[in-house]
């Protein structure tokens, strides 16, 4: 230690500690943290990421779908219930993965273990910390969505490879559209009881009524309208267009715009709330 005195006045230091030049550069400094975390936790995510989706596909698509007539006129153009429900399940899975990753884990960072307070004491900024964490969340979404889509491919529910690849990218967008607002909510929440609202009034109704399991046209008109303004419906509809190969370009653009705007607003809200939490 003596030879490498910390803080020795003017000691030549080839690797000087510096402030990051940009938010991206700051977030990249957190790469090793998130890699380390993932190395420690990936085993625990296997069931939720890989096994649960499989169970859904078998239960809902194959078994339940066996009772449902595959009438394209009734199923938004899908030739089987499995083909109809598959994109809905993928998008709903993207949502639930994101909500799981941006509620309790974020509260842990700001309240329980306060790991973010360690990061902000280093030369990192709020935006760097958010970008890195959200990138990690998107990485988790990418992984589960890729597995999900790969598992369903053999069932012949996808119309084209290009469509599936685009549908995969859409999952990242759906993930981001949920990630930033939920992250913002969690970053400013007092305690974990605040999450009941997200799970009971947000996630579960969206999961059931946003067109993942049945066409929203089956709902009464006011409920249908309500369903079509939820973010998950936009994600489901966009994903389904792509996997079924029945793309309505203008509707697709509306979906994309909606999700992008939600993600952007969520980011701004999150930045404000996290700033207030960390820099007080």
């Amino acid at each position: 230690m003596a030879a490498t005195t910390p803080g020795g006045a003017g000691s030549p230091d080839p690797a000087r500690a510096t402030a990051p030049a940009s938010t991206l550069a700051g977030a990249l400094r957190l790469l090793d943290y998130w890699l380390t975390v993932y190395r420690r936790t990936w085993k625990g995510t296997i069931v939720s990421s890989f096994v649960t989706p499989l169970l859904y596909v078998v239960a809902m698509g194959v078994l339940l779908g066996g009772f449902i007539e595959g009438d394209p006129a009734e199923l938004e153009g899908a030739t089987s219930y499995l083909a109809f429900v598959a994109p809905g399940l993928v998008a709903a899975q993207a949502m639930t993965t994101v909500i799981g990753e941006t509620t309790y884990p974020v509260m842990d960072m700001v309240k329980w273990h306060k790991v973010y307070f360690g990061m902000i004491a280093a030369p990192l900024r709020v935006g760097d910390i958010m970008l890195a964490h959200l990138a990690f969340v998107l990485f988790r979404v990418a992984l589960t969505s890729a597995v999900f889509l790969a598992v369903m491919a053999p069932f012949g529910v996808f119309s084209s490879v290009g469509g599936v690849l685009l549908a995969f990218l859409v999952q990242l967008l759906v993930g981001l559209a949920f990630a930033t607002p939920v992250y913002a909510y969690a970053a400013g929440a007092k305690d974990e009881s605040a999450f009941n609202l997200i799970f009971r009034l947000g996630m579960i109704p969206l999961f059931l009524f946003s067109g993942a399991f049945f066409p929203v046209a089956n709902l009464d008109a006011p409920l249908e309208l309500l369903a079509t303004i939820t973010p998950l419906w936009h994600g489901v509809d966009l994903t389904r267009m792509l996997t079924l190969g029945r793309v309505d370009v203008s509707a697709a653009l509306v979906h994309v715009a909606y999700l992008v705007v939600l993600a952007a607003l969520g980011w701004r809200w999150a930045a404000r709330r996290l700033q207030r939490r960390l820099i007080a």
């Binding site: 005195t5 510096t18 090793d32 943290y33 790991v115």
Partner: protein, 314 residues
């Protein structure tokens, strides 16, 4: 006075949280290589001050420069050059000791190879090499504190901020931490620490300020403060519990003239004088029989009591 040759320089520094005025206008000037202390009871504003100095808490008033830089403008630059050991640990308890240090080093933009070398060095320095592979949640309080100190040194800081580095540690663990901090001081690192413990302040700091209710009430070296605000010796007298009323209050009035100053604590009486033994003898001459007596030198605790009318640690 300019801020250029000061490591930390503050004038009229204030911090408010809504209606709470945590820091109410303090002047501070810490020089390179100095060990500087903030001594004060709970709620004095020590942590609020430290967080402003650490460039993670915007100031509410006054002026503050750290390494000559303005934290409102150059927060990340300042944080790259200082080390922070916060009052509450912010370690990732689900990672190992080594992982905690490694990832932290990366936050400073240091190359992986460089960080690995520093991690080994620092583990050795805080005597945690054997625990390198342990999960942080399995460490004792003293080990976690040493790990936090090691972490705060990963960027070879010019100033090290330590907020209550030994609170909650057992005496042995405290001495280990003191020893490490003393070595850093010898190596020329500027230390700024807060504490409730006057022995810690006496051991580690060259100069300190006594804070109370957001204000600085005294400043100087530990010895200067004692000379200025207390007597050479103190006689501590304990009397048996009398039948009724405040025994110590009553006795205090009877011996008032025997000492420069008399303080009444819940369990004992403090008589401040140049010669404690002589004072005790005079007390006996008056026919008073304390059940226990102790003569000792004045400490910062006495200074604090004098200045604020309260003890530091109750």
């Amino acid at each position: 006075m300019t801020a250029t040759d000061s490591m930390i320089w503050a004038q009229g520094l204030r911090k408010g949280f809504g209606d709470v005025e945590a820091v109410r206008g303090i002047d501070v000037d810490v020089r390179r290589g100095e060990a500087f202390g903030f001594l004060g009871p709970n709620g004095a504003g020590k942590s609020s001050t430290m967080r402003m100095v650490a460039a993670v808490s915007p100031i509410s008033g006054g002026e503050l420069r750290i390494l000559g830089l303005d934290p409102a403008v150059d927060g990340p630059e300042i944080r790259a050059r200082i080390g922070v050991c916060p009052q509450e640990d912010t370690l990732d308890t689900e990672l190992t000791v080594r992982e905690n240090l490694f990832v932290y080093g990366r936050y400073f933009g240091l190359p992986r190879k460089e960080v690995r070398a520093r991690v080994d060095e620092l583990l050795e320095f805080v005597q945690l090499t054997e625990k390198a592979g342990s999960m942080v949640e399995d460490l004792s309080g003293g080990m976690k504190r040493r790990l936090t100190i090691a972490r705060s040194l990963i960027n070879r800081p010019e100033v090290l901020l330590l907020d209550e580095p030994t609170t909650g540690l057992d005496p042995q663990a405290r001495h280990v931490v003191w020893d490490r901090l003393f070595r850093l001081k010898q190596q020329g690192v500027t230390l700024v620490l807060t504490t409730h413990y006057m022995d810690e302040a006496e051991q580690l700091t060259d100069r300190l300020v006594v804070m109370d209710k957001g204000l600085i009430v005294a400043e100087g070296s530990p010895l200067d403060l004692i000379a200025e605000h207390s007597t050479r010796e103190v006689a501590e007298l304990r009397f048996g519990v009398a039948q009724e009323g405040d025994t110590h209050e009553v006795v205090a009035r009877q011996v008032e003239d025997l000492a420069d100053r008399v303080e009444v604590l819940p369990d004992r009486l403090l008589l401040y004088s140049h010669d404690g033994e002589e004072t005790v003898a005079k007390v006996h001459e008056r026919g008073l029989e304390p059940v226990a007596t102790l003569v000792r030198r004045s400490t910062l605790e006495d200074v604090f009591l004098r200045l604020t009318g309260r003890t530091l640690v109750d």
